[in-house]
Subunit: 221 residues, 2 copies
């Protein structure tokens, strides 16, 4: 994954998608904002272009964005996860899909509620099929922090069954100003997904707005 | 949970139990090491007494240790978890049980493999029944570090449905020299349990021997 990739951000009109978009255009990647509506995607791309420094993002309908990208981020609410995967599924064979989805079930978003597959990441792999390379990451970073240029005191746990695919996403985390960490197989994604509910609860209990996590004992990475 | 509690450590002959025992006797708690064999428990208590500074631990068979304690730690391998819970179940009605169990399934211990109940903690609650107060904690701290007096760069996520019970265990973490954090309902325990497999994998991938976790953004706790 040398050089700059073309990256689609499916659900790029949301807070996490906008934050990732901002950081990735800043790093020089070609970013395609995807939405169910091409018009909304183009609006979001214009807003991002006006507020970020870097390459000029473009907007497109989800399928078109996915088709044109090397790497496809999925940053959608759990409630629309399955439907949006079905939209992009015909267009991502052989591509690298980076799922950031946390299976939050309102109103109890501070309670871990994993789907029958064990995690959103495993549900994604099952839905897209084994021909699609799935990595999951960016579950624990506060979206509103990604939308700034500030340093973020949070690691990005990267899960995937292929170390090369994980390494590509560790590199994208670095591009976004974060430390990415090889966190093992896709089956381990449940750790970070459940941790998001833990962090939401910690934000409430400790009256803070951006609790995060760090892996200790691997300094120098 | 004011003052010093009598604490049983079921599975106290293992590495994690011995480490917790060391730290808790150092804090002045009365510690009862439990094992399936009373003789082995007494041996482990003698070894602990010889190597730790603090109150004098005693050893007893699991049921006897559980019966005599205010707080019952469960520090047993996943393979013997159900059988040992059945041993202590008749003796812990109304008591606080602190489960530290991670459902590791050898040989793939770096892969999260949650039980059908969703986590070891939820399996424990189901097995002991709703009359027993269950908290889970201490999943991510390296046992060999607890067996020393060194500072440990790792937080203790504490899960439980009753905030008062969680607070008691946050206090015990503090007594053990660690920062305990209210991490929400028992259902959230899956986060820390799965994270242990992540940390085992990180230890291998990054060639370190004690990766841990810290919650960021709540400084001053």
């Amino acid at each position: 994954m040398a050089g700059k990739a073309t990256i689609a951000i499916i659900g790029g009109t949301g807070a996490l998608g906008a934050g990732l978009g901002r950081r990735l255009v800043g790093a020089g990647h070609a970013v395609l904002i995807g939405s169910r509506s091409a018009a909304k995607a183009e609006d979001a791309a214009s807003t991002l272009a006006a507020n970020a420094t870097g390459t000029r993002p473009r907007g497109a309908a989800n399928a078109e964005a996915a088709k044109s990208a090397d790497i496809v981020f999925v940053t959608v609410p759990w409630a629309s996860h399955a439907a949006i995967l079905d939209e992009i599924a015909p267009h991502v064979a052989g591509q690298l899909v980076v799922d950031t989805t946390v299976p939050l079930v309102p109103p109890r978003v501070a309670r871990a509620q994993m789907p029958p597959e064990g995690s959103a990441a495993l549900a994604t792999q099952r839905r897209l099929g084994t021909g699609v390379r799935v990595v999951s990451a960016f579950h624990n970073v506060a979206a509103h922090k990604l939308q700034t240029d500030e340093a973020i005191d949070c690691d990005v746990l990267v899960f995937g069954d292929d170390p090369k695919d994980r390494e590509a996403v560790v590199g994208l985390a670095r591009d976004a100003g974060l430390r990415g960490i090889h966190a093992g197989a896709l089956a381990n994604s449940v750790a970070a997904e459940a941790l998001t509910s833990v962090l939401i609860g910690i934000n409430r209990a400790y009256k803070v707005d951006g609790a995060g996590i760090r892996i200790t004992g691997i300094n120098g990475t």
